[in-house]
Symmetry: C2
Subunit: 467 residues, 2 copies
Amino acid sequence: MIHINIDRKTSCSLSRQIYDALKEAILFGTIQPGEKLPSTRELAKYLNVARNVVIECYEQLAAEGYVYSKNGAGTYACDGVRFHPLEKDTAAKGGSNEKYSPQYEVSFRTGIPDLAEIPIKRWAQIYQRIALDIKPSQLDYQDPFGDYRLRTQLSLYLNRARGAQTAPKNILITNGAAQSFHLLCGLIAQNEYALVENPLSFGILHTLCANSVNMEPIYMDEQGMVTAALPDKPPKLIFTTPSHQFPTGVILPAGRRIEMIKYARRQNAYIVEDDYDSEFRFDGSPIQSMQFLDPQRVIYVGTFSKTLMPALRLGYMVVPDELCEKMREAKYVADLHSPILEQLVLGDFLERGLFERHIRKMRKLYLKKRNALVGSLRQSFGERVKISGAEAGLHFIAAFEGVHFHEGLMKKIEENGVQISAVSQHCLSEKTKSQYDQGLIFGYGNTTMEDIDRGVKILSRVIKGER
Amino acid sequence: MIHINIDRKTSCSLSRQIYDALKEAILFGTIQPGEKLPSTRELAKYLNVARNVVIECYEQLAAEGYVYSKNGAGTYACDGVRFHPLEKDTAAKGGSNEKYSPQYEVSFRTGIPDLAEIPIKRWAQIYQRIALDIKPSQLDYQDPFGDYRLRTQLSLYLNRARGAQTAPKNILITNGAAQSFHLLCGLIAQNEYALVENPLSFGILHTLCANSVNMEPIYMDEQGMVTAALPDKPPKLIFTTPSHQFPTGVILPAGRRIEMIKYARRQNAYIVEDDYDSEFRFDGSPIQSMQFLDPQRVIYVGTFSKTLMPALRLGYMVVPDELCEKMREAKYVADLHSPILEQLVLGDFLERGLFERHIRKMRKLYLKKRNALVGSLRQSFGERVKISGAEAGLHFIAAFEGVHFHEGLMKKIEENGVQISAVSQHCLSEKTKSQYDQGLIFGYGNTTMEDIDRGVKILSRVIKGER
DNA sequence: GTCCATTAGTACGAACAAATT
DNA sequence: TAATTTGTTCGTACTAATGGA
């Protein structure tokens, strides 16, 4: 008779304990294939448990194919279930969320909004209200394009605030701009290619690389992408950030926009307008979207990561009619559709004007920070620093006269506790790298006034030590 | 002097109205490239508005590159901004979420939980609590694998309830099983292929097709995938539903599981265990996961769409150590990471045992429904219906003696207001199609007792009319 | 917040039918 | 035929947790 240790004090049920022991015995070969197991009565008596307990565990073993029972004949171990001793997973080592983002004393990371100012309370209130009077059918699978009410509100907002030409049917809700780019990559076949700005954001670069999309960088001047340099070979997509080029901050002027659209039409290409932070323009209204000029050639990509919060993972694309079906399929295959509840909350947020109010509030705050940072840099570096692209967004470029941000210097800055990236790190060619190697990208969205002060002081010390 | 209609009653600002009019004039060519615009003083006087209004709008036009101003010389339209008349989007036609799911009188759609029983209130309460004491840093971008606390809880749950061998570091939070499959497809190169069960679920079929993955179907018998028929050519992935095969409901016995794992080891393939509804087993505990037998060869795919709600779009994968980095990269490229707030809520939900309680509650409810449906079918069809795979999950198969569910009959059923699918629709070959053509798949998760009654009555009428 | 009735989970015991040796 | 074994269905008891007043 097989011996089984039974512990009546543990929270684990008796039948589970016997089940585990028997299964292990069968897998290890202690109980041979075809061997008869003790009868339920016998084992129950031997172990001093109720027969029902043994029956329950024999049934489970039978259901999983370890044993088979024959009425009147007994229970036998199945063939072919001998197996190697299980490798128990060695001690689950500790971990946490914190580990993901290394800690710096001051961070000028780009693209992060002020996390302390996120209207999370208001957001949660609306979430609760929405959840309380939701219809069960809304908790079912939904349209891959997303919630219709949100798309309606978004369409109104985009028409109003960004001068875009959209209808709800063209708006595809995604899990942030990263997913939008990922889905768009699906449009590009292996032998086709995409045009990108140079320098460009890591986000697009990384997405395109990982999806093994061929890229052709386009030279930029102080007006943005040089449309005269557009190649003859027809691209499939043209990735651009016309309202506030990343990282240079340049605004693509109307003339070049039109040229680019004409080019796209000629080459039968689509323009991907990455409008990642245009909501925050400090003088005048936001620059109008490029999509406005030709809704059938321009795919507009927006995100709520900067305006609300990165953790939300909500963004959207305005898709030309011709691409709607393809994009619907792509989104469906990727993850069916984006989560619904927070879409409903966002729709409400927009409808009540809370979103635009929040933007206005944040614009003021970011303006303050920008001015403080510019002031701080001026104070430390005087005329030896040249700032550009600061009219909008959550970052700008500062070029330091006579300083070259090579790898060693960047490492030194990091070692001194400042997180910041150099423009040259975003360049695709050696030529552009050296063209931009005096520039740092200052993201100030999630900095405090103290951060700004301290960060510039540290930078000043390190840079001046270098010179 | 250009004429501009100004409406002081509208909510649109004066400068916006002037801006729009001027921009249109430039784009249409009413104002020629290089033409001098009226001076700010002149235009302000003419339109009877303050000069600042005109200045603001000239600045905006300049920022966007439509005009340029020279100190002392005036403002001129830029070159190259003439453009076609804008095609105004024709009337945004109406739409709504409802349109997405066509209405049936009774739906036996598979894989839908009881939407009316979702603990949405409790969920919303926790959401609010979580949101109120969240740290700002948690609203930042996070680890692609997901929230660590949720992964810890999930790992405990899986070990406890599914007998899986996991550590938090191996758990990747995804936007539902569909995304898990999508990410896994990235492991398969163009010249490689995947093994699938036949018949199989639309979900996997569709994902694999759309990602242009080559598939090889494996024959099944009453015990599930016939492991003796595994091909010599090494596959990359083997997709399987061992706990409750979709759609047949068969449980893959231990012997075959072990054979399959040995095969996978020999061929250096990975097994994808799609555990889509095993939580709901009606007699005994759920069938133990296959992942338990070899955590380094089996990728376990789970979802909360059936246990909580489809609209949530949350699922997970248990990834072998060797694949962690690849999967991290794949998830990062797809959408950086899954939304955080609802992950936190889910983690709390699990930690408090609310999740398991909910499962227990639902298991009872589903058992009731299953029994009612089986009873109803028995009553209508007596011994002429054979039911299989009903021991677990939210669906089972009913085979009707002497009835063949060809396209015409399926259409007739649909026309009579019943949504249901035939087993043969899930088959990949003609041979299997005819083998299974007497079976319907009854999903009863989101049906009411009345639905069940009514649905069976309608089916009975249609099927008997056919015979 | 507290108390109380209810419910769910686990374990036990007993009885009987059906199949097997 | 008798003894043994599984399959099935009761009822009871104890405990912990839940939900409502």
